[in-house]
Symmetry: D2
Subunit: 270 residues, 4 copies
């Protein structure tokens, strides 16, 4: 069974009832679910009985009723995020990884996030802040929030997150948090509220799809004593894993969003 | 003073003796050091007395003896890595962030790394695994290791890392670790050893500058029952933060290395 | 009617029978064809009578029988290439443009090309060398050659091209040409033949999809007295033309091929 | 001697007095000049006597007085542009090549360009339109124009270009040209003038460094009956030519400008 401080990562060599597992077929199509007695999984490549997956070695190859091969794995964070039931665009791993590094979001960090959306970034944040950190995640749409709650609960991460239904135009409840990340179309409208709740020298970040939004945000940040402004974009290029014909794959994601980072400072304006 | 479980992140609003601080001047040139009574910092823009930096609010603007402005900040992880005293090429934040995400390296993870080098990636790993994880870092060059030890100690992270002087051609001492990352020119020579120490379904990763090295590694991974092989490269593009003339900066880093990821699985070869 | 020295570009303000025209609908789906009396064009958005397209101003909006709007244009070179009937992968405009610049292929140039393939690059070459240049295009597959001949003829460019059916392993018939471009999987097998037919200091170029092929070619070029070797790749990123939400489009072509350029020189090897 | 219809490309196998030559040293540093009797070239790697360069085979290796090796080549268009004496930022070959393809600028084309600047793009245009095309190049700064005239004259291309000193706010003198390219910071101010002089269905293009300028231009193009608007950027990545360690070079040009293309059409606005 899943130990509380290890969320969905399991240190046992063999699977048990209650484990979160990932089953990956030939075309890398994957299924992430919790192992239960007597349950059945229906895939495009045949039926799989949960009981056949219990007490087997992680990393093993198993077969569906019609002989299609699968691997049984402890789910990777990347695949968990990609497979999240969702109704909104989610942040990509390439962007999340850089955000963590840039904003120093790790074990013990206290972070405000808005909006929660499908909870993909919330899940990543909760994973990385560990059991000593805390996430305050704001979302006005209660249906979205309910969905995010379900996702977090499934990955044993809900204990690290406070899900809040509140209009951030009225401000955040917390103060002196280490970092605030806004995944909203109009972050420029909340910069004063960010300044009130983010500790001085803390990390503000957001993602915006269009250049017009970035320009609007930059203008506001500069009039609100934010320094160390950094605007970047991250391009991820996949290669074919063919040692005889090594080359990039034919197509790629060309744009997810511009990432903007800044830190509030104290300036004496006379 | 720095609390042990928070390493260099400080929750206090004001600076104290013993804090790791970052002083950033106008051109973003930064200085990272530990606050000590009666010490003096010499910068290109004038002299700064440590005593003037003690018991001030984080994020404040302070001035050198000749009036040059600086901000005093809790150092960001990114800047800590960039400013590490080093004698080797280090991993870039853009690559580290993606590696963490892809390999799921977070609180509680047990990770083998080789070689230690200047300890930049070791520092990042130690930061993200938190107080419950563990890093086993191998390095043959004792002088490099001594330098890495000093760096880790300075950031209060040495307690999370076991620095080892051992030829990994003889294998790693640990077994069933969650992840192994090799930052070496010839990872293909150690794949059997990786398989012995990495738990099944765990995460293997490495970075290699040339296509030739990648091709050699791909061939070896496939004959050693590694699956889910992924080869990527990450491009980071910075933009000018000018809201009236928003555009990418003129030049960028075009290549740091190819990142290769794979997971060992159990296949029945009859 | 089309004037011989202007190929498919027409200087008249109005369309005439015999003109090569491009009809572009709302979703940028285009049709390139020759205007003929009494002909009918069937599109996904209705029927269009050629007679309605004769003697109208270039650039006009016309409508199909069911009211769908189209623009009638002199076809652009880019669209001609994109719409070429073809059975092979063709060179992209982004690559062709750079090849022309790099190899100085313009009016009056004599160029060898192999293989002809669908004739897309041949068409571009023939367009740019003008009426004083000459293209020698080699292709072993007679069916491909017949198709290329038809394409070139349609664009009034056949007079500038000598289509040859000959195995280039036996060498090229021409000598002292200005440039040779190979669009073949194994250019490294023909480098001696290239040296025999390319003038000293002339321009050799080729496109190769994989890094392995490039490495093989580089090794051969260096042992055959080629200098000024240049390997590049070109990435083209499209943006949405929305002035309120300016941003890159979501996906892009990540790889067409590596372009390799080199010039044969005379070195005294004692 | 240079034949008039071949500009700086020479078909002879050996050099003659009056030829435009390119001398390239070990580090690819090049010198482009006209061969003259009794002249001397001073380089960082020694003195070279023109007389030693006359009547030698193109592509030969020659040596300076102190033994440094050079190759003597017919100058490539790319190098001619790169080495142009200039006082302004010039268009890069990567961008020029795509502009030619996209706008169909080749033999026989009539093109308006503004401003002339240092004449680099003018040189490329004049090269590609051949002896039957015509370039009308506008520039208000007479000193710049004089410099461009000198450059064009040196490459035997002046006969294809009409250099004009006129404020394009008053319109262009020509009508029904095939293409208009604006390399100016404020193309949006001249779109009506562009429409007056560009044939319907012709090609308009420009290059702009910032997103803000692009947004402004897009808005104007749409209210002036331009269709087929395309905004792109081109990234060129160089690779090391090492067959044993094939990899991209470390740094690259990240941005030269956004390229915007559009075609004027006739729309019935009731």
């Amino acid at each position: 069974m899943m130990a509380s401080n290890q969320v969905f990562n399991i240190t046992e060599r063999k699977t048990s009832v209650g484990d979160l597992v990932e089953l990956v077929g030939m075309t890398h199509k994957n299924h992430i679910f919790i192992l239960e007695n007597e349950q059945i999984l229906h895939t495009h490549r045949g039926i799989i009985y949960h009981n056949d997956l219990i007490d087997v070695k992680w990393g093993s190859q198993i077969f569906s009723h019609n002989g299609s091969p699968f691997f049984i794995l402890q789910p990777s964070l990347e695949n968990i995020l990609k497979n999240l039931p969702r109704s909104t665009q989610i942040l990509y791993p390439k962007d999340i990884g850089y955000i963590l590094m840039k904003m120093g979001i790790g074990p013990g960090t206290r972070v405000i996030e808005a909006g929660t959306g499908s909870g993909a970034f919330t899940t990543a944040l909760a994973y990385f802040i560990g059991c000593n950190g805390e996430i305050y995640s704001y979302e006005m749409r209660t249906q979205m929030q309910a969905n995010a709650r379900k996702n977090l609960s499934r990955f044993n991460l809900l204990g690290r997150v406070l899900l809040k239904t509140k209009d951030i135009a009225d401000g955040f409840d917390e103060t002196d948090v280490d970092a605030i990340f806004l995944d909203l179309p109009n972050p420029f409208d909340y910069i004063e509220k960010v300044r009130e709740s983010l500790k001085k020298g803390g990390h503000f970040g957001c993602i915006l799809p269009s250049a017009n939004q970035v320009c609007k945000l930059l203008a506001v940040l500069k009039t609100h004593d934010f320094a160390f402004i950094d605007v970047v974009e991250i391009l991820l290029r996949h290669y074919k894993d063919d040692s005889e014909r090594f080359r990039p794959v034919d197509r790629m994601v060309a744009h997810t969003g511009f990432l903007i980072f800044a830190r509030p400072v104290i300036i004496n304006h006379e």
